[in-house]
């Protein structure tokens, strides 16, 4: 019987989550590693296959936009988890709470007095030119002053093992359903390991989410709904999953209508009042009257109802301004400005192509940089210099010159790696981490989050739309 072994595992010149650079198993992986090495290869393989099968039969799929005909895929799971020790996690969580609190104050300021602009911390043009800035939101007071109720911040580790913030996702971050399902799958695969080492649970996320959504409405027992663009949306599975786990209605915009200054939904017994909407559609598509008149998926008049505080919306429309990748570069200053603290988790060094010196540097060094569009997400509209051809680099140089405000660049960071099952053995694959932060009665971070893994050898792109998979993330007690 062949046992699993890490003896041939190549740690490589990266920060490895399981092994130190001198190939010693990190303390918090020791028990896990031992259990795996006591297990036969066949057993581990069959656990991996069982995991894949259960994803299929559960129908946990996402749709790929670019491939037409509504292709459904599962996001592959790798059963070797990413393990984080408690002290380190507590630091990360502290940093995330700090960041979300500061960003919420920032958004509220931007839509009211704009003190941060008047004090010259951020140039006004950065805000006015941001696609995420919605002037319709000026003067809006969302319930309890909360704008970003659900945030999914993307973190990475550099070569030294330090966590850095890569992106703030404050519009409608997806992926939390994988966190919950991956955990269920791993509990089935490694029950004895869970029992032995103790992992902080994540299963109460839907309950906490519902509590938060109820918190932002003053009525007792409010009617909460999840608003989805429909079954062809790439994250549809998650929308329906969360609605089901919370026991609330999943609605499409055609189910909603504005009547008598309120939002109501069409039921088999007539209209019913809606108090809180967890929206999973882009804010500018919510209301064709207020924003995008082309939108076919919106509810006409809903924004006015929101402005009059007759319905609560999470996340509030307008939070996208803090999601802009140029604004991102200012977040350390935003934290300092509102909280008078230094950021607990630093940013990745970011060059703003809208600024002359930075642009010059980017154009000269594009081969070594990662270039991103300011408003894109999901791995679309980006260039990874070291992995690109001359033509691709040239194309991005042109794009930057045509619209400098729309581009930022960052040094290529070799994300940390975690051993991953490849064929019969283990190989290192790059990962990032997306923790989920809820802002209701206080700011709370779900222990762990979604570890996305670039399954292609050498790849740094972890997005599910670009061949990425996921791993369960264990925060130890």
């Amino acid at each position: 019987m062949d046992l699993n072994s890490f003896s041939n595992y190549e740690v490589g010149a990266f920060y490895d989550e399981m092994f130190s650079s001198d190939r010693r198993v990190r303390d918090w992986y020791k028990d896990f590693c031992q259990e795996i090495e006591n297990m036969s290869r066949d057993e581990l393989q069959s656990k991996q296959h069982a995991a894949e099968r259960s994803l299929h039969s559960m129908g946990i799929t996402f749709n790929v936009y670019s491939e037409g005909e509504g292709v459904e895929r599962i996001m592959p799971i790798d059963i070797i988890p990413r393990i984080i020790m408690r002290q380190e996690w507590d630091e990360v969580a502290r940093g995330l709470v700090q960041r979300v609190e500061a960003l919420n104050l920032f958004i509220d300021d931007i839509y009211h007095d704009q003190k941060i602009l008047k004090d010259g911390i951020i140039p006004e043009s950065v805000i006015t030119s941001s696609k995420g800035f919605l002037k319709q939101c000026m003067g809006v007071n969302p319930p309890k002053g909360i704008w970003c109720h659900i945030t999914g911040t993307d973190l990475i580790r550099d070569d030294n093992g330090d966590f850095l913030v890569l992106e703030d996702n404050l519009r409608c971050p997806s992926g939390v359903s994988y966190v919950l399902e991956n955990r269920e799958i791993l509990k089935k695969a490694f029950p004895n390991i869970f029992e032995k080492i103790g992992v902080q649970h994540v299963s109460d996320y839907p309950t906490r989410l519902l509590e938060m959504l109820q918190f932002i409405c003053d009525k007792p027992d409010p009617q909460v709904v999840v608003l989805t663009p429909g079954i062809y949306n790439s994250a549809y599975f998650e929308h329906s999953y969360l609605a089901q786990q919370m026991g609330v209605s999943l609605v499409e915009s055609s189910d909603l209508v504005v009547r008598d200054g309120t939002v109501q939904m069409r039921t088999t017994k007539g209209y019913e009042l809606v108090d809180v909407i967890y929206r999973r559609i882009d804010d500018t598509f919510m209301d064709p009257k207020a924003f995008n008149p082309e939108s076919l998926i919106g509810v006409p008049g809903i924004f006015d109802v929101f402005k009059n505080n007759k319905v609560a919306i999470a996340n509030a429309p307008g939070t996208g301004v803090a999601d802009d990748k140029v604004v991102y570069a200012y977040v350390p200053r935003i934290i300092k400005y509102y909280l008078d603290q230094d950021p607990a988790i630093p940013n990745v060094r970011t060059y703003l192509c809208g600024e002359d010196a930075d642009r010059k540097y980017v154009l000269e060094n594009i081969e070594e940089l990662v270039v991103k569009e300011a408003n894109e997400a999901g791995g679309y509209g980006m260039l990874i210099g070291p992995k690109s051809t001359k033509e691709e680099c040239e194309e991005f140089r042109k794009r930057i010159k045509n619209n400098p405000r729309n581009y930022i660049a960052q040094p290529t960071i070799s994300l940390s790696r975690v051993p991953t099952l490849v064929g019969e053995g283990f190989e290192g694959r790059h990962v990032d981490l997306r923790p989920y932060i809820l802002y209701g009665d206080g700011v709370k971070v779900i222990p762990g989050g979604l570890t996305r893994v670039a399954l292609r050898k050498g790849s740094l792109v972890v997005n599910s739309s670009q061949g990425g998979g996921s791993k369960d993330t264990w925060v130890l007690y």
Partner: protein, 325 residues
Amino acid sequence: MLSRVANSIYWMNRYIERAENHARFIGVTFNLILDMPKHEKAQWEPMLYASGDYDTFKSFYPQSNRSNILRFMSFDERNPNAILSCVHKARENARSIREIISKEMWEHINQFYHSCKEASRREKWKIDDWQDFFNQVKMDSQLYYGIVDSTFTRNEGYQFSRLGRYLERADKTSRFVDVKYFILLPDVHEVGSNLDVLQWSAVLKSVSAFNMYRQAYLTINPAQIVEYLMLDRYFPRSLFYCLKEVEEAIIQITGHQNKQHPAVRIIGKLRSEMEYNDINDIFKIGLHESLDIFQQKLNKVGNVIHESYFALKPEPETEEQEMEQ
């Protein structure tokens, strides 16, 4: 319950029922053909007349041979009533209400779809492969009902699922009985002959009614078979039984008090008409004609259900308001 959700539950069940009945349709035809004397030409087309898909078929296929018809009825996604199309639509509906139905219901429909899809990719089909496939479809549909029965709370959603299932089944059973009308006997004198009886037995078998019928009647007699499939009060695929179920579901949805509700009224009328119908009346009008009339009335019931529960329109004053703004 959201109108859209009710609509999806209703259609999910109609489509599963439709898929099952189409598998049964093909089953009855197989049965008939295998029982035919050797020199008789295999009659595949009657199935298409009865299911109402003949015109669609002819627009895509020049020849009504077995392989074309079986492909068309099973996997041709240009045919909205093909088994694969039905299961696909059932799954799309299920997908849009996953949070409403039980996990087992979703997982089963999902697996059902994937196995039909996989079958559709297969190139070579022997006659027993087809039979296995149609059996599998039947089993998967029945397993689905078993899962619904044991996992789905008896709430409004359940009633919509019952509504969809029995409305569809009523329509399909009426078409099964009708298949026989389209199947030609070699000679008029054969009416009531062995061959005729053989054909009627095949119809019974296709709706799994043979054993149950035997308990109620001793002889295989066409008039009694028709009576059984249309008017029997206890057989779960008879027209009358299906109408009773539809009526019960509508009453559960609307409430017992609401006698004036259009859906309650229309189904009540149709059910009582069937209840006091005599088999001789049916034959007086003509079996095929009676079935035709029945199917039309059933369609009306479907329309009223749609208007009453799914198609909630904004009231006129709301529309005016919108125009003013």
